[in-house]
């Protein structure tokens, strides 16, 4: 395609530039001319007539030839007036120097392409309309060249055939001129051809001078060979086309380059999950592995290493190894002994630990007190025994005392003490006060001058212990007495109410009174408490003397009547309780009674059993009697029936209660074998629990009459109208869900204008509307699920809350509802799938370990068979599906 175009252009350009052809004629190498070109020569556009006449005038010799439009001889004359020669042409001339031309074998367009000139750009612009204007393009020029080639070729043929002798002569001169040319041709220095007008230098011309010289025949042969072989070189393509071609080539290439990734991309795209960072080497995992990599770097390290890894040392170590091992040997006995010892120590240690733990846990204050005391005792004993220890102790004590003197730690100097003092000691509670006192006491102890350490410590220990106990009690009693006095005082002195001021206001007075009363009450209570406490104190004091004196008795006295009461009440309770304590004698009796009555009861049961249904029927019949005057609220038969039976039974129960009042013992017996009570309770919720007592005596007396056959039948067909009712119900619901259309109604006055209109009745459109609505309703009724089911009403109401459990529209990639629902049919949770399948069912699209860098995709060559497999697989999938579908169908058919 491109080639053709070029040819066309060549043809188009040739005539327009015919004048310049002459200029390149000599520059061209020995080129053959295409026959096509020669043929086309005549077709080209001709010169304008004015120019032609001019040419004729200048050179009448060729006038006859001018038709061709391309005559080389004509050219030089035409260019006479065209002084300036384009630069590139002159350059070209020089470039196509005959000398260079000999080696010239590359296609012409190659060179042309590489010429960096403005013209090349122009070429693009003017490629098509090249014959406009006087400027030349390369293309045109080359076209011209071809023309020239042809001619030269002709001439060369002449020369070969030996018919061109006259031409040789003419050329010789020129040739010499060419050689003698001193300056390179240029604009100011046009070539001789241009000047002389004759511009035909052929290879032959060049060869002739060296005829007969050494190598001539060789050269000539070569030239001839070249002539024979050479073909015409076509003009370069226009830039657009060339670029297009280039792009195509590049595209092809890059396509090939990129398609090699295709399988990778396809694989990734089709994969349900893509894994990233499958295996990551996290380096060494053990200390040993890291250590083995260690290389000594610093001087010191190197020195050490050289010592450690010294050959001699290594060898010695190796040699010594066995010896050392021998030395390591221990006799079995020793080992056992050692082991036992270690085990013993361990167990001892463990026991000790456990014991310590247990002891540490103990929170009892008394225990700790005792323990401390023990400790002190032990110490003192030690001191007595051991002078060393005594000295030590003394030193310690001394140190403590010195420290106390220095710091006054236990005086009221600490932050805590200061704070308490600031607030006032009286505002504190007992504990803090005691702590404060204790501290002060400590201080006093430590700062007191002591004669001998030993005396003080021992004596103080023993005495203080005794004192503490005694004094505590004393103090307590004193305090109690004081408190008592105070409270008494409070009770005694009646505060006089103020007569004036705010406090004299009536409500204030009332409030004060109230408060006073409260206070008095409190005081009284407190007083009682004090007395009690005193009592206990006394009791405790008198403990050694009287083992369990007042206190015990006092309580006992209080308790005894209580318990008596309780037992009494208990007994009462038992009476009330229908399954009372089995411990009491009464119950035992009752049980015995039960046993005695067992036989009777069984008889009763026998009666009850088979009549069970009958009884129900009887209930119904009772209801029927009540039905006439039954309350309108209750629809169902049973409730009323229940009431009926209730009232009846209640009466009986009342009777029973009366009896109970007379004989409790009997009641008990009755309770135990109260058999039919469930019935009563089932039916009567209004009855109280005590109803239990009720039926007892009455139940066995109940007699069940066999219902008559007619009654039974009536019962069986009692529901005959049930069906009708249901149908009515259904109709109602249908009407509610699909309301019936309103009947068309005429407005008053409508159609009453005239006689005629009145006769016609309703307008047609109203009727039609009504009909339509009716039809619509019918249709929707037919569409109902229960349309065919006479005895079923299926609600069509839409549950707004459940709407969110269904999708309103199909989710994106799906286009058909069936497909979507089928794809959703399988649960993917762990409850409904085996362990091995859950993972793959719930795998995310991308699997990536945290912290792993995702590397760009790497090219992996795919083997040929893999590729084919891939294709196969995709094919198989479809096939499988097909077969699946087919098998499914088959199964259906077989079913």
């Amino acid at each position: 395609m491109a080639v053709k175009k070029r040819k066309e252009r060549a043809v188009g350009g040739e005539s327009g530039n015919s004048k310049k052809f002459k200029k390149y004629s000599n520059s061209k190498g020995p080129m053959k001319k295409n026959k096509n070109d020669t043929r086309k020569k005549g077709k080209g556009p001709r010169l304008p007539s004015a120019l032609r006449t001019e040419l004729d005038r200048l050179d009448p010799k060729i006038a006859s030839d001018s038709d061709d439009g391309i005559d080389l001889d004509v050219g030089n004359d035409v260019y006479e007036y065209e002084e300036e020669v384009p630069q590139e042409e002159s350059r070209k001339n020089r470039r196509f120097d005959p000398v260079e031309n000999y080696d010239y074998e590359l296609p012409e367009d190659f060179e042309d392409e590489n010429v960096p000139s403005d013209d090349e750009d122009d070429d693009g612009d003017f490629g098509v309309g090249g014959n406009k204007g006087s400027r030349n393009d390369d293309v045109d020029a080359s076209d011209g060249d071809e023309e020239e080639d042809d001619e030269r070729h002709l001439r060369m043929l002449q020369g070969v055939t030996g018919m061109s002798t006259d031409a040789f002569g003419g050329k010789k001169k020129r040739n010499s001129v060419v050689i003698s040319e001193a300056h390179p041709e240029s604009e100011d220095n046009p070539t001789r051809d241009v000047l002389e007008g004759d511009s035909h230098i052929t290879l032959q011309d060049l060869l002739d001078p060296i005829q007969g010289k050494a190598g001539y025949s060789k050269l000539r042969k070569r030239v001839q060979h070249m002539d024979r072989k050479s073909t015409s070189v076509q003009a370069p393509l226009p830039k657009v086309d060339r670029e297009k071609l280039e792009r195509m080539a590049v595209y092809e290439h890059s396509k090939k380059d990129i398609t090699k990734w295709e399988h990778l991309v396809k694989r990734n795209r089709e994969a349900p999950t893509v894994f990233f960072g499958g295996d990551v080497d996290l380096g060494f995992s053990t200390v040993g592995a890291i250590a083995s990599e260690f290389e000594p770097r610093t001087e010191f390290e190197k020195k050490i290493a050289s010592l450690v890894y010294d050959d001699k040392v290594m060898e010695a170590h190796k040699a010594d190894g066995s010896k050392l091992l021998e030395l390591n040997k221990i006799s079995e006995e020793d080992y056992m002994k050692h082991r036992d010892h270690v085990a013993k120590m361990r167990s001892l240690l463990f026991r000790h630990e456990m014991k310590q733990k247990r002891i540490k846990k103990i929170k009892s204050k008394t225990y700790h007190r005792l323990k401390n005391k023990d400790k002190l005792k032990v110490e003192s004993a030690e001191m007595l025994m051991d002078p060393e220890a005594a000295k030590e102790q003394a030193r310690k004590q001394e140190f403590k005392r010195a420290e106390e003197r220095m710091t006054l730690k236990h005086k009221n100097k600490s932050k805590w003490a200061r704070r308490i003092l600031e607030r006032g000691l009286n505002a504190q509670d007992e504990g803090t006060r005691a702590a404060m006192a204790e501290q002060l006491h400590q201080h006093a102890l430590l700062t007191r001058k002591i004669n001998t350490v030993k005396d003080s410590s021992s004596s103080s220990d023993s005495s203080s212990d005794d004192d503490d106990e005694g004094s505590n009690e004393d103090r307590a009693s004193e305090l109690l007495e004081k408190a008592k006095e105070k409270t008494l005082k409070v009770l005694e002195d009646d505060e006089e109410l103020p007569n004036s001021g705010v406090l004299s206001l009536p409500f204030m007075v009332r409030g004060l009174k109230k408060r006073r009363e409260e206070a008095i009450e409190e005081a009284k209570l407190a007083l009682q408490e004090y007395e009690q406490l005193e009592g206990t104190n006394d009791a405790e004091n008198s403990k050694p003397a009287t083992a369990s004196g007042r206190r015990v008795f006092g309580r006992a006295n209080n308790e005894v009547p209580d318990s008596n009461k309780k037992t009494k009440t208990d007994n009462k309770m038992k009476m009330d309780n229908y399954y009372g304590n089995s411990d009491s004698e009464g119950d035992l009796e009752a049980k015995a009674n039960v046993n005695i009555e067992g036989g009777k009861r069984n008889d009763v049961e026998k009666d009850v059993g088979p009549n069970y249904d009958r009884k129900e029927a009887a209930d119904v019949s009772i209801f029927k009697n009540f039905d006439d005057n039954g309350d309108p609220g209750s629809k169902t038969t049973y409730e009323v029936a229940i009431f009926a039976s209730d009232s009846w039974r209640k009466m009986k129960s009342e009777n029973g209660v009366d009896k109970n009042a007379k004989k409790l013992q009997q009641v008990k017996e009755a309770i135990v074998h109260n058999k039919d009570m469930e019935e009563g309770e089932e039916d009567s919720d209004s009855e109280s629990e005590q109803m239990v007592d009720g039926i007892l005596s009455s139940a066995p007396k109940e007699s069940y009459e066999l219902p008559s056959q007619s009654e039974l039948i009536r019962h069986a067909f009692a529901g005959d109208d049930v069906e009708e009712e249901f149908e009515k119900d259904k109709q109602e619901i249908l009407n509610e869900e699909n309301p019936e259309p309103d009947k068309p109604v005429l407005l008053p006055g409508w159609g009453q204008w005239t006689h005629v209109q009145q006769k016609k009745g309703l307008p047609w459109w109203m009727l039609k509307e009504h009909e339509d609505a009716k039809r619509k309703r019918e249709e929707s009724l037919k569409k109902r699920k229960d349309a065919q089911l006479k005895h079923v009403i299926i609600s069509e109401k839409v549950d707004k809350k459940a709407e969110k459990l269904q999708t309103k529209s199909l989710p994106y990639p799906f286009t058909s509802k069936e497909l979507f629902e089928q794809s959703m049919r399988m649960p993917i949770g762990s409850e409904s799938n085996p362990e091995t399948a859950i993972r793959s069912l719930n795998r995310p699209e991308v699997m990536k370990k945290p912290g792993v860098i995702i590397k760009p995709i790497k090219f992996v060559e795919m083997h040929h068979h893999e590729k084919s497999e891939d294709n196969k697989r995709s094919g198989q999938k479809q096939k499988k599906n097909k077969s699946k579908g087919a098998s499914g169908k088959n199964k259906k058919q077989s079913n």
């Binding site: 209750s634 309770e681 919720d685 089911l789 979507f820 599906n881």
Partner: protein
């Protein structure tokens, strides 16, 4: 050998099919390649999962439920408990016993979902919790009032008891935890263990649903059909069914105040009701001496049998026990044709009134609560032989129980998931009749109308009329016309909403006087 293998393959195929839960999607017509690929991968995984599940079932769940087989002239229903006792191992024979407690009235029973524990409630206030494995009495309490029903909550630690005035919740130690006063005097209790809902019907015919996790009252509906103590939960979908004295059975869910289904089952009062564990079958018995089996997918009767039943119960394997008087009959359908035949019978001592029959889960045991205590008999082939510890574990340790409690709480289903067909969850909602179009949709509609108006071609008119200006004008007119109805509609809506607004607030006051406007009582 070859035949055997084939047989095996068939068996496996059957199992795989079961686990595939329906037909795979047909991807042939699918144009979207990406989706096709994704779905193919999914299907592949499903297939693998089903296959492994089938294999696991084959190799790890080897226990198969057995059942009585009659030889020759023998009939299975003639086989007595005593003759079964002679044939079985000691541990199974432990399950044949009668506990006679004559004083405290007819007993009702409930088992935990794993069948390990039983709660027995005597009418006269006796509550007992028994470990059925060891037959130890764990706790026994006396509430000293009428007890009508007992039901276990999610595990053996808690149970609810319908007492005289209110239902109460107790823990295993017999401590009263809650008194649910809102329920009133409850006749029957049911617990929905996937939803953690306690459903009750009280003597005024009111149905209550209470969430036992948060204590929230989820639903409170008046049935309007009178007092009833026939109530059963469909284990498949959590729908509660009530049997009424008018012979109707109504099915309820906690989010709707009207029954989902109301069906006339019997001409007389409905005396009892039971659901097959797969949820497709319902058995009802009426006072008119009929027992009916219903297909709940079609709401049609499958089978009608003569006989009374005071209580009905389906076992895990689909055996149906019916108790009346002192007589118990067990029906079975081993052929799979849903034709229930008499399988076993059992008669208690004369005078015992059977109040409740209940199959023990994961055991071939039928518990019977009657007027003289409770009994337990063996019904071969009634229990599920393989338990799934994800669902219920009869050998549960306390740690597992704790784990499970947390898990089940996390997996608790909201009450709105209760519906007739729970497989509808997650599917595409059927288009509704009258749904108000959203603003966006209206806009889109308008846009489309305008677009069509713009793109209509005009007829070539005569010379004067075909001026570009006129054509443009005409086009504009057409657009306006297309817009008009929609705009009118909008205006109308706007006006109605404004009217509504106007009716609501009081007379507009000037700002300065607004503070004097009387506030409405809250």
């Amino acid at each position: 050998m070859g035949a055997k293998k084939e047989n095996n393959d068939d068996e496996m195929d059957e199992k795989v099919k079961k686990y595939l839960r329906g037909e795979a999607a047909n991807l042939e017509g699918l144009k979207d390649k990406k989706l096709k690929g994704q779905l193919a991968v999914r299907e592949d995984l499903y297939g693998k999962s089903a296959k492994t599940a089938a294999k696991i079932e084959k190799w790890l769940l080897p226990s198969e439920g057995g059942y009585l087989e009659a030889e020759g002239i023998e009939k299975t229903w003639r086989i007595k408990q005593e003759s079964i006792a002679r044939e079985i191992d000691i541990s199974s024979s432990k399950n044949q016993y009668d506990i006679v407690l004559p004083e405290l009235g007819p007993y009702t029973l409930d088992f935990t979902s794993n069948g390990r524990y039983m709660a027995a409630a005597g009418r006269k206030g006796h509550l007992a919790i028994v470990d059925m494995k060891t037959l130890n009495l764990i706790k026994e309490i006396q509430v000293k009032e009428t007890v009508r029903d007992v039901v276990y909550l999610h595990n053996e630690l808690f149970f609810a008891v319908a007492q005289k005035k209110y239902p109460y919740i107790y823990n295993r130690d017999g401590t009263e935890l809650h008194c649910l006063k809102e329920h009133g005097a409850v006749l029957r209790l049911q617990f929905l263990k996937n939803h953690f809902l306690l459903a009750s019907i009280n003597k005024f015919g009111q149905l209550h649903y209470q969430d036992v996790t948060m204590g929230e009252m989820v639903g409170n509906f008046r049935t309007g059909l009178g007092r009833t103590d026939v109530m059963q939960v469909n284990p498949f979908n959590g729908v509660v069914a009530l049997g009424h004295s008018s012979g109707t059975v109504t099915m309820w869910k906690p989010t709707s105040s009207v029954p989902l289904v109301k069906m006339l089952c019997h001409p007389g009062p409905v005396s009892s009701l039971a659901f097959h564990p797969n949820g497709h079958l319902m058995a009802t018995s009426g006072k008119e001496n009929k027992i009916k089996i219903w297909d709940l997918r079609k709401f049609e009767v499958i089978q009608t049998m003569p006989g009374h039943a005071k209580t009905l119960n389906f076992s895990q394997k689909g055996l149906l026990a019916a108790g009346t008087g002192s007589f118990i009959k067990v029906l079975a359908d081993f052929s799979g044709s849903q034709n229930y035949n008499s399988y076993m019978t059992h008669s208690m001592a004369k005078g015992y009134q059977v109040g409740k029959v209940l199959f023990r889960p994961y055991e071939d045991v039928l518990g019977i609560g009657h007027s003289m205590g409770w009994s337990s008999i063996l019904i071969p082939g009634s229990g599920e032989p393989n338990f799934d510890s994800w669902v219920a574990n009869p050998f549960e340790t306390s740690k597992q129980r704790r784990e499970k409690e947390v898990h089940s709480l996390l997996d608790k289903l909201p009450p709105e998931t209760i519906m007739l067909d729970p497989t509808k969850v997650g599917t595409v909602r059927a288009p509704q009749k009258k749904e108000k179009p959203t603003k966006k949709e209206i806009e889109a509609e308008m846009e489309a109308a305008i677009e069509t108006a713009k793109n209509t071609d005009f007829k070539k008119k005569t010379k004067g009329r075909n001026k570009p200006s006129k054509r443009a004008k005409k086009r504009q007119e057409m657009i306006e016309r297309a817009k008009k109805p929609l705009l009118e509609q909008q205006i109308q809506e706007h006006e109605t909403s404004r009217k509504k607004q106007k009716t609501n607030p009081e007379i507009e006051m000037p700002k300065s006087l607004q503070r004097f406007v009387r506030q409405k009582a809250p």
